[in-house]
Amino acid sequence: MKFGRYKKWEISGHIVLSILALLAIIPFLLLIISSFSDEQSVVRNGYSFFPEKFSLVAYQYVFEQWQMIGKGYMVTVIVTCIGTFVGTSISALLGWTLSRKNLPGRSMLLFIVTFTMMFHGGLTAQYIIYTQIFELKNTILGLILPNLLMNGYFVMMFRNYFETSIPGSLLEAAKIDGASEVKTFFKIVLPLSGPIVLTIALPLGLLYWNDWTNGLYYLSRDSNLQSIQTILNNINENIKFLQDNNLGTASSGISSAELPSTTIRMAMAVVGIVPIICAFPFLQKWLVRGMTEGAVKE
């Protein structure tokens, strides 16, 4: 009963946090229930937590369209894997180089990295370079390279970790044994770097999984490289197109696959959410870790 006199604070805490927790999941509940609702009852009564009639039609349709959605998943998985692996690797390698104190030209290299954290040319300038010079439009690299792959913060986090968390005595011993810098990195440093690798890789993977902006900028609408998020975004764009032009679905020339009915739309969003929710406990652990690590970087 030590904290007895502060009980009302704890109770208020429970009340406020319960409300927030509810608010956090209620929209997802509505989404999921809607996806299992009968199309007609949604059209009549709107999306509801208690639909008149349940139905699996939306999911039946999603599985019939599996060619499109499955392909979307494949693109998402490929882009996420390549992007995360390459991005984490090259950040780690640069982080290691920058953590070597006697490296000639180290301060200049550091400046090249920090400058990118201070000044950004903007998405337009970037888009023009990527499309005019590198011709990334409608290529898988257009989903991987622009903006996401790596940034100065990743590099600095790696560098900090290598400088502070790898025991200097180990590096000293490797040096005495005549191990090269490369060997030291792969044989000694990397095996001790699990935490930092996951701290960078998981949020980066999440970034790739959730990315729709590169699809929006670098894919034309008929591209066959559409990731799951890009497909979901395109459905949005089609709804908007219809609203802006006051067209019915029939006269718009947009096929029903591109503009699914109200319940199917929700079923597709559910399909987009499921993997993230499955990975959530794991993701959460490393997001939290990355944040507390970042918070105590001093």
Binding site: G46, T124, Q126, I133, N233, N236, M291
Partner: protein, 321 residues
């Protein structure tokens, strides 16, 4: 005497250069390891600096995108003569201020209340649930928003307003509601993350302070006022300054996806980022998009620099660069 000294000096420099060369040789593999990342930074971050020149030229496809005639600041003059420029800057700055003031106050309050919860399982439970929105992409959040706000099938119009006898509202056509909706979605999406961050800082405050205060019979309110808040002050100031440094940027997903890019809402949803996206991708106006981008980059740089300077004055360890 003299010549011996010179000789020695020459010898020493020779040894030094030799050592330097060996040193350099020893480090070559390290430079090679850094190379892929530098190539990427060059392509992704440094080449766009060259692309920025489009903001200062007249676009002429016949001459090639990069070879237009130099027009100085004409494009900027044109950009700032439109009402769009004023609207997007106003929106970007005001939303940022709103998010900073409200966001900080709200997440701090929530974190302080969360800190009073002693039950470990309950803490974990609340933390997990509030973090879920944070890992969901804005596209999917826009689907959630649509389920509530759609004028025909939305939950609010059908299940809340109708039973109350209130006329349906065309949410995606009515600008007046959107500052609140965007503030709500922004907070909803980010609260789990801010909660984690403030909680980490609160847990770092030494327990002895509170124990001593309890022995002295301090009320919870007094503890909050005299221990917790003063201890959190540095973080709050730091975060606010960094947010002020980013005052000319906005969350593209939030402002583009949640209003479903609805034209009727542009007056309250257009920010610098959504404007330059539309100029570039929907209107094909590369020049205006470039001018907007360059304007945002420079103002953003100045603000970030000032913020960093201010942070440095305040606490050297927390500087960004």
């Amino acid at each position: 005497m003299h010549s011996v000294e010179t000789k020695q000096k020459i010898e020493l420099t020779k040894i030094a250069t030799k050592k330097k060369r060996e040193n350099f040789k020893h480090y070559i593999p390290l430079y090679l390891m850094a190379l892929p990342a530098f190539i990427y930074l060059f392509v992704n971050n440094y080449m766009p600096l060259y692309g920025m020149k489009l903001a200062f030229t007249e676009l002429d496809y016949a001459k090639g995108v990069f070879n237009g005639d130099w027009v100085g600041f004409e494009n900027f003059k044109f950009l700032f003569s439109t009402s769009d420029a004023w609207i997007m800057i106003r929106n970007t700055v005001l939303y940022n201020l709103l998010f900073i003031v409200f966001g900080t106050a709200f997440s701090l309050t929530v974190a302080l209340l969360f800190n009073e919860i002693m039950n470990k399982a309950a803490r974990k439970f609340y933390q997990s649930l509030t973090l879920i929105p944070y890992v969901i992409s804005m596209v999917i959040v826009s689907y959630l928003g649509f389920a509530f706000l759609s004028s025909e099938t939305g939950f609010i119009n059908n299940s809340i307003l109708k039973p109350l006898g209130i006329d349906a509202i065309s949410w995606y056509q009515e600008p007046k509601y959107w500052p609140f909706i965007l503030l709500f979605v922004h907070t909803w999406h980010g609260i789990g993350y801010s909660l984690l961050m403030y909680t980490a800082r609160i847990l770092a405050i030494p327990r002895e302070y509170y124990e001593a205060a309890e022995i002295d019979g301090a009320t919870k309110w007094q503890q909050l006022k005299h221990i917790t808040l003063p201890c959190l002050k540095p973080v709050i100031i730091l975060m606010t300054m960094l947010a002020l440094g980013r005052m000319f940027s906005s969350d593209f997903g939030l402002f583009y996806q949640i209003p479903m890019n609805s034209g009727a809402l542009y007056s309250v949803t257009t920010t610098i980022d959504t404007y330059s996206f539309r100029a570039l991708m929907k209107l094909g106006d590369i020049t205006m998009a470039s001018a907007t981008g360059v304007f945002q980059s420079f103002v953003g740089f100045i603000l970030l620099f000032l913020a960093n300077y201010a942070v440095g004055k305040f606490s050297k360890d927390n500087r960004l660069f």
